[in-house]
Amino acid sequence: MERIPILKIGSFLLVSIQVDMHDRLAMSLQDDLTAEIVKARAKGVLIDISSLELVDSFIGRTLGNIAAMSRVLDAQTVLVGMRPAVAITLVELGMSLPGVRTALNVDQGLALLQAAIDQGEHGAGDGV
């Protein structure tokens, strides 16, 4: 079955969605990614959607779920590269992706992830 590759870079996972996702593929990404967060002990997930020409309510909901599930698994998620037309359409559709961190590109997304993780470590103060 078709799968979206998940790359591990340090303590981050990187996913670049390059295909027009049907619903099952979106669901399998959600499952694969949560499993991989645990397996790789990832602290951050970066999802690049710069190739996506469409984010409808199903894909939007899946991205929101991924962000929520990662948070529960102690990993931060950043969504990067959303096209302007996709952003306008998504908001008009009625979805503003609350709870999903976004950045314009991969560089800024990685910086945001690193900052969030540093802050989390200092903020928690458990000094393990």
Binding site: D23, D56, S57, F58, L90, M95
Partner: protein
């Protein structure tokens, strides 16, 4: 509104939803839709194709190319023979869902298009029409 070309696509699986949105994108591009208008129409098509699949238990979409003077557009008619919508006003309300989704499909699609109509008869099926001009 004189229609010049029409085609029908089946919607019986998740892959068909992808085929519908790709075909709508192709036609919108051919008709000279701006990127933002393409994106809105394709997104609405995706929502309604999924509704046809999950709520209507499958059906089909008729895609009609419209020419009205210098105006060009696309009309999509989604039809199923599913259980129908008992209360259309309620189904159009954001957040109302019977399918476990977010309840944005019908109302959201209406906002993304220039024309919208929905007819439904409980037990007989549902017909949703949308149109958008380039």
């Amino acid at each position: 509104m004189p229609a010049t070309a029409s085609e029908s696509l089946p919607i019986h699986g998740a892959d068909d939803v992808v085929v519908v949105r790709q075909r709508v994108r192709e036609l919108a591009l051919m008709l000279g839709f701006r990127l933002i208008d393409q994106t809105k129409l394709v997104t609405a098509a995706s929502e309604l194709a999924r509704n046809t699949l999950t709520h209507g238990r499958g059906g089909q979409v008729e895609i009609v190319t419209l020419h009205d003077g210098s105006k060009k557009g696309l009309r999509l008619v989604f039809e199923d023979q599913g259980p129908g919508i008992p209360d259309i006003a309620r189904a159009l309300t954001d957040g109302f869902t019977t399918g476990g989704g977010l309840g944005l499909g019908l109302g959201g699609s209406k906002r993304l298009c220039n024309e919208f109509s929905v007819e439904s008869e409980p037990g007989r099926g549902t017909r949703v029409m949308i149109a958008r001009w380039a």
